[in-house]
């Protein structure tokens, strides 16, 4: 069972947190990979593949803390995945993909910046701290890429602005979950809820430059409800099951094969 931490020195709590963060990275990486061959222009094709590869690398490093990477990625059921629901949302149009990336990258940068130094107070978090430190420059680039495109589309043509606006609003309800506590991380040290204000400020600044507004009660009726899902508890939205079936199909068809 994936619950068993196999890596030396990783206690159950650290493994639990590493799994949740690893799931976020793996699922978003897989979604980005679905763009292969479909991106608007060749250069963006390369950029999206780059983001996907970065995230896949992060996922692998985090899974290595927990146990067998392949077993974790390919042999768990939907209910065992602990990723936030934001990352499993379908790509939609290009604006949708960019909005999802903006929300996630800004958040992950804040979280990893804290985690990168977490081992000073809690030596047991050293494996996660190492992954976070390595991932920070990558995430800074992801954020920059997403912010650049948000501005281009939001402050582009009438059509691109309309689509960017729509994507920002549609994915808003999945952002609340980013600020829920992560099981296995000491609450006194890492408090995701404390990132919300910073996150709002940073996302707001990008949207302002893109001449878009943060969603309000009028555009997104449940804006204040922050309708966070329960991805961390293994409860996912409908598209996730299909994504997983596609991702795991080959591995499940040939159990035990080596690649």
């Amino acid at each position: 069972m994936p619950e068993e931490p196999a890596a030396p020195g990783a206690d159950a709590g650290t493994a639990h947190a590493a799994l949740a963060l690893g799931d976020d990275a793996l699922v978003l990486s897989h979604r980005l990979t679905e763009w292969a061959g479909d991106a608007p222009v060749l250069e963006e094709e390369v950029a999206l593949a780059n983001l996907a590869l970065d995230l896949l690398g992060q996922a692998r490093n985090l899974y290595a803390i927990v146990g067998d990477e392949d077993a974790l990625a390919f042999r768990r059921e939907e209910r065992e995945f602990r990723n936030v629901q934001l990352v499993e949302q379908p790509n939609g149009d290009f604006a949708h993909t960019i909005a999802r990336q903006l929300y996630f990258s800004v958040h992950r940068e804040l979280l990893y910046a804290e985690l990168a130094g977490a081992d000073r107070e809690h030596p047991r978090l050293a494996p996660i701290a190492a992954v976070a430190a390595k991932a920070l420059p990558e995430l800074a680039y992801h954020r920059d890429h997403a912010a650049t495109w948000t501005v281009r589309l939001g402050d582009g043509t009438e059509e691109s602005a309309r689509r960017m606006r729509r994507a920002i609003d549609a994915l808003w309800r999945y952002t609340g979950e980013l600020f829920e506590p992560i099981e296995g991380l000491p609450a006194g040290l890492i408090d995701p809820a404390a990132h919300r204000e910073d996150w709002l400020r940073r996302v707001g600044a990008v949207l302002e430059e893109a001449r878009l507004d943060l969603p309000d009660a009028e555009t997104v009726p449940d804006r204040d409800a922050w309708a966070a899902g329960a991805g961390r508890q293994g409860l996912h939205t409908e598209p996730f099951g299909r994504m997983l079936a596609e991702m795991q199909h080959l591995h499940r068809s040939h159990p035990g094969a080596s690649w």
Binding site: V41, E43, V46, H145, R152, D155
Partner: protein, 111 residues
């Protein structure tokens, strides 16, 4: 785009009108231990900012400590192949034009 100072200083960063094909950019890269920028290739991008980002992905694989220059291909003037001979006339028969009679002092690097 907002008018950031860097943009104001770089007229080539003007935005491509919607629907227009993206212009061609030439990319020059200086490797981390390199001394000078070398032409790495070219790419299409709507403006300089995007060209830089794309060049990073395509030509540097994000190695730390490199420097990238992007130049609109239209801004490059090349020597014409027809004038090759007079333009690059060899000076091999004029030894006084070659600085081969000097000892290189200790401690001078990159010469």
């Amino acid at each position: 785009m907002s008018d950031t100072p860097t943009e104001a200083a770089a007229p080539t960063a003007a935005r491509t009108p919607a629907g227009a094909p993206w212009p061609l950019w030439e990319v020059f890269v200086r490797p981390r231990r390199g001394l000078s920028h070398t032409h790495a290739g070219s790419l299409h991008a709507p403006d300089a900012e995007m060209a830089l980002r794309n060049a990073r992905d395509l030509y540097t694989r994000r190695g730390e400590g490199v420097s990238i220059w992007v130049v609109p291909a239209a801004a490059v003037t090349a020597s014409s192949p027809d004038e090759k001979d007079p333009f690059f006339a060899p000076s091999a028969d004029k030894p006084y034009r070659h600085p081969t009679f000097y000892e290189i002092p200790e401690g001078v690097r990159h010469l």
